[in-house]
């Protein structure tokens, strides 16, 4: 996530420029003249959002004066490979457009080195979730084409015998091989994971539990105090959940439901004080840990509809930004969250000013349906430009297409396996 302060007085011109990048409200034209996202074969999702937080004043409920915080521009991309390579690639092939955008930000030097400036404005993520670690854009597109070709080819009459499934599968594999040879389908083998990444992942895997172990004695000693503090705060922290402003809500809805997936960008202030600051930090470290080592294969607990999501602190941890790319409509997304992982929402977000009252950190909170729904919409910001590399496809599609491809590989399968594979088509 690149975050840069918008120069006062230039916000309007920035918004106008962003508007020119879209073909539908909020939906980037993949070939737009400013940042032709579609040319970047490793870019899954991207967005540009003006972070102008209307809820900054909520913190007055904690007897903290309303801070004066700047308006930011956030530029967010989810890409295959390291962020630095992605930025260099963007700067190389769309430098002019990037400059046109960042010209609206403080301290941008039109003559200076673009990559250096962008890198300097790159913010670390507090927690990062990727639906399927290692699945590349190319793979998604190739596998989608594969499914389309096979679905059109497979005969749909019931099979005469179980053995026929085997034969049919072999025929289809031959068909795929021929299509690949003819250049009509591509099935590029995945790049090996760089050794550096594997080592970093292993170190991270061990480091966090180790740190936990070291802190454990202190935590045990402090636990009565911490629990007492938590419960006191849970009783006294203000709930601020009025209905969102109707005009603002409508503005956001105009950006939604053009595709089978949607975007969500939200911002909020952390409750003041070290307790919440540290608790939020620790919990996001843990969320990041599970996202990196456990929830890497298509699900975040029971939620299977998030492509990419992250949390990032800004303004010296006074505020938190959350963004996600999800399948389905907004209402379904929120209902899914309430009904499946309200406990997780509470862990991740209850440190925000005004969150519906939790009990023991996981209970209530987001389960208080209307307050939660008001809260999340009120903290949402319009995403001015949003790009998805594979419109029309959901994670359920991606997973099925992946299984179709995997099913091409084994030489010997049972009749039942062959049939199960055919039924994916």
């Amino acid at each position: 996530m690149v975050v840069a302060r918008v120069t006062p007085g230039r916000e309007r011109s920035l918004r106008e420029l962003l508007e020119t990048m879209n073909s539908k409200p909020g939906m980037a034209d993949p070939a737009n003249a400013v940042l032709p996202f579609g040319q970047f074969e490793r870019l899954h999702f991207a967005r540009l959002a003006v972070l102008d937080d209307p809820t900054v004043g909520d913190i007055e409920a904690h007897d903290v004066p309303r801070p004066s915080l700047p308006v930011y521009l956030a530029f967010i991309g989810s890409c295959d490979g390291p962020a630095s390579e992605c930025i260099e690639d963007l700067a190389r092939r769309a430098g002019t457009g990037l400059r046109r955008i960042f010209m609206h930000c403080d301290g941008f030097d039109a003559q200076g080195d673009l990559v250096t400036w962008v890198q300097a404005h790159l913010r670390p993520l507090a927690a990062n979730y990727v639906n399927w670690v290692g699945r590349t854009v190319r793979q998604v597109k190739e596998e989608s084409a594969l499914r389309r070709a096979l679905a059109a080819k497979v005969p749909r009459a019931p099979l005469a015998s179980a053995a026929q499934a085997q034969q049919l599968r072999r025929e289809l594999i031959d068909f795929v091989d021929a299509e690949v040879s003819a250049g009509r389908l591509g099935l590029t083998p995945p790049d090996p994971t760089p050794l550096r990444w594997q080592i970093a992942k292993l170190l991270h895997l061990a480091a966090i539990p180790l740190a936990g172990l070291i802190l454990l004695p202190a935590l045990i000693v402090l636990s009565p105090f911490l629990i007492c503090t938590l419960r006191t705060k849970e009783h006294s922290d203000a709930e601020i959940c009025p209905p969102p402003d109707r005009a603002v809500l409508l503005e956001m809805q105009h950006l939604e439901d053009h595709d089978v997936s949607n975007q969500y960008t939200a911002i909020g202030s952390l409750k003041p004080g070290l307790f919440r600051r540290w608790l939020a930090t620790v919990l996001l470290v843990l969320i990041d840990y599970t996202a990196r080592h456990i929830f890497t294969r298509g699900f975040l607990a029971r939620v299977q509809t998030i492509h990419f999501a992250f949390w990032a602190f800004i303004d010296d941890k006074r505020r938190l930004v959350f963004t996600s790319n999800y399948d389905g409509g907004h209402e379904a997304y929120m209902d899914d969250f309430i009904n499946k992982v309200a406990w997780g929402l509470n862990l991740a977000f209850s440190h925000g000013v005004g969150w519906p009252r939790t009990r023991w950190l996981v209970a209530r909170g987001a389960r208080i349906e209307n307050r939660f729904k008001h809260y999340q919409r009120r903290h949402q910001l319009p995403t001015q430009v949003w790009y998805k590399a594979y419109p029309g496809l959901t994670l359920a599609d991606l997973k099925r297409n992946q299984r179709i491809r995997q099913g091409l590989e084994p030489v010997n399968v049972t009749d039942a396996q062959a049939l199960a594979w055919l039924r994916l088509l």
Binding site: H258, R302, A332, R423
Partner: protein, 497 residues
């Protein structure tokens, strides 16, 4: 919270409009009058004493029934206080045809676009709906009587006639079988707890405002300081005893005129079946999820042996033993509208097993978890058929027929709009792709030019059978969101400014 104490407080049936409790099968004639206010004072005077039917059961079935509901435009036209109007739900305040974003969500695009509606958009948004029901032969007189009463205050913009109630909807299928069982006795405990089984008994608060819903919460609705109800007309709110509850015993009513192309439907099925009559019927049943006589394709709950659900219990089943849709396709109309699943995907009842599923580690359970928690998305249907007879042979070309779809809910967004958008219009329901509801779909392609006009029928012995190129069978001709108030709230709205 005094919720537990209120557990036993019985429902004020005399204050609830009877439509919430009854479908009036014996009142075979009905018509829905859509009115606009021409003289607010006269309109209010009629509403203040309109003979609205309550939900109290009488020894003799009533000869007639009358119900009254308002749109938000209607409330404004009747000069109800703006701050009170604004406290209703956002969907109701905005209205069904409010904007393009809602139209996209509801599938009101293409041929369904509100711009082409007969009523419900622009100047043709009704203010009030008067729903009239009568025994055979009695409607004309009843309608005349009521029209004479309200004539000074309203002009009629549309009269939605209905056919004699028969069970079958115009395509020829038994309809109205699946209904939630409303918890009138308030048996369901007021608490927020995961339900491990699908149950039909649904909290009263899902259908009536002022009572706890499935989350154990009271859905927001207009609550007033008592001094704004000097006559003490309104009941007090259970969750805020010092406030007068405008919503209590009322609910939202969604009305949509759905025109059905009966000839087109059967012509298309003939085409798909290549003229094979038996196959045609099977394909149609697969699209609906029931045979014409209402027998569900799914197996009854608790029996996986393959026995059909007995005719006497056509609503007593789930899809638990049919996760792949081999008996009832995943995308069948009745499976989309009511997936009949619990809060957690199937599995053991032990704490560890539940925790494992909660964290998503049970792969088999996850496969079935794309759609969950049906209990938050139930609709109480009260629609009626209109137009000519259902049998395709007997309907003349061009004759208009369909359903005046009505559903009642406490939360339009979480109930009607959710079901309509995520489950019916959505082309990715339960992991499917390339298909929306086989009956209601608008068939316009998704972004990326992915079609939505297919329908897949899983087969045990081969790849899915797949119908492609389905045309649109159902077209939306009108629609609006109404508030069906409790009777005392109706009097309050009519008399107080």
């Amino acid at each position: 919270m005094s919720a537990i104490e209120n557990q036993g407080r019985p429902v004020e049936l005399g204050d609830v409009q009877g439509l919430v409790r009854f479908g009036y099968k014996h009142l075979t004639e009905a018509c829905f009058l859509l009115l606009r206010v021409s003289d607010p004072a006269a309109a209010r005077a009629w509403l203040a004493q309109a003979p609205v039917t309550s939900a109290i059961k009488t020894d003799r079935l009533p000869e007639t029934a009358l119900h009254v509901a308002f749109t938000s435009e209607g409330l404004r036209a009747l000069e109800v206080a703006p701050d009170l109007c604004a406290e209703f739900s956002a969907e109701f305040v905005a209205g069904m045809a409010s904007d393009g974003a809602r139209a996209r969500r509801l599938g009101d695009v293409g041929a369904n676009d509100p711009g082409g509606w007969k009523w419900g958009a622009g100047e043709r948004v009704p203010h009030v709906a008067v729903l009239l029901y009568a025994r055979a032969g009695r409607l004309a007189a009843w309608e005349q009587e009521i029209e004479a009463q309200y004539a000074g205050g309203f002009v009629r913009i549309e009269r939605l006639s209905t056919s004699d109630t028969q069970l079958k909807e115009p395509f020829g299928f038994d309809d109205g079988i699946s209904q939630p069982k409303v918890d009138w006795e308030r048996e369901r405990p007021v608490r927020d707890q995961d339900q491990l089984e699908y149950r039909n008994l649904t909290c009263l608060g899902e259908f009536l405002l002022g009572y706890p819903n499935e989350y154990g919460l009271y859905t927001p609705r207009p609550l007033l300081a008592p001094q704004r109800d000097p006559g003490g007309l309104l009941p007090r709110a259970e969750d805020a005893p010092d406030r007068a509850d405008v919503g209590r015993n009322g609910c939202y009513l969604v009305l949509r005129q759905l025109q059905q192309d009966v000839q087109g439907f059967w012509r298309e099925l003939d085409r798909q079946a290549g003229g094979d009559v038996d196959l045609r019927e099977r394909l149609a049943a697969a699209m609906v999820g029931r045979k014409k006589d209402g027998e569900p394709l799914a197996v009854p709950s608790g029996e996986s042996g393959g026995a059909a659900t007995p005719r006497s219990k056509p609503n007593d089943f789930t899809y638990r033993d049919d996760p792949r849709g081999l008996r009832c396709p995943l995308g069948a109309h009745i499976r989309r509208t009511n997936p009949r699943n619990a809060d957690l995907p199937p599995g053991g009842r032990g704490i560890l097993s539940r925790l494992w599923r909660m964290l998503g580690f049970n792969a088999a359970a996850l496969e079935q978890d794309l759609v969950a928690s049906t209990r938050f998305h139930r609709l109480l249907r009260r629609g009626r058929k209109y137009g000519v007879d259902a049998a395709p042979a007997r309907s003349s070309p061009g004759a208009e027929t369909g359903i005046h779809f009505i559903c009642l809910a406490a939360n339009i967004k979480r109930q009607f709009e959710f079901v309509q958008s995520a489950w019916l219009v959505g082309s990715k329901f339960a992991g499917l792709t390339g298909e929306s509801d086989p009956l209601l779909g608008h068939r316009l392609p998704d972004m990326g030019d992915f079609p939505t006009d297919g329908f897949s029928i899983p087969q045990a012995d081969g790849p899915d059978r797949r119908l492609t190129g389905l045309p649109q069978f159902v077209t939306v001709l009108g629609g609006a969101y109404f508030f069906l108030p409790g009777i005392s709230a109706l009097r309050y709205l009519a008399t107080t400014r």
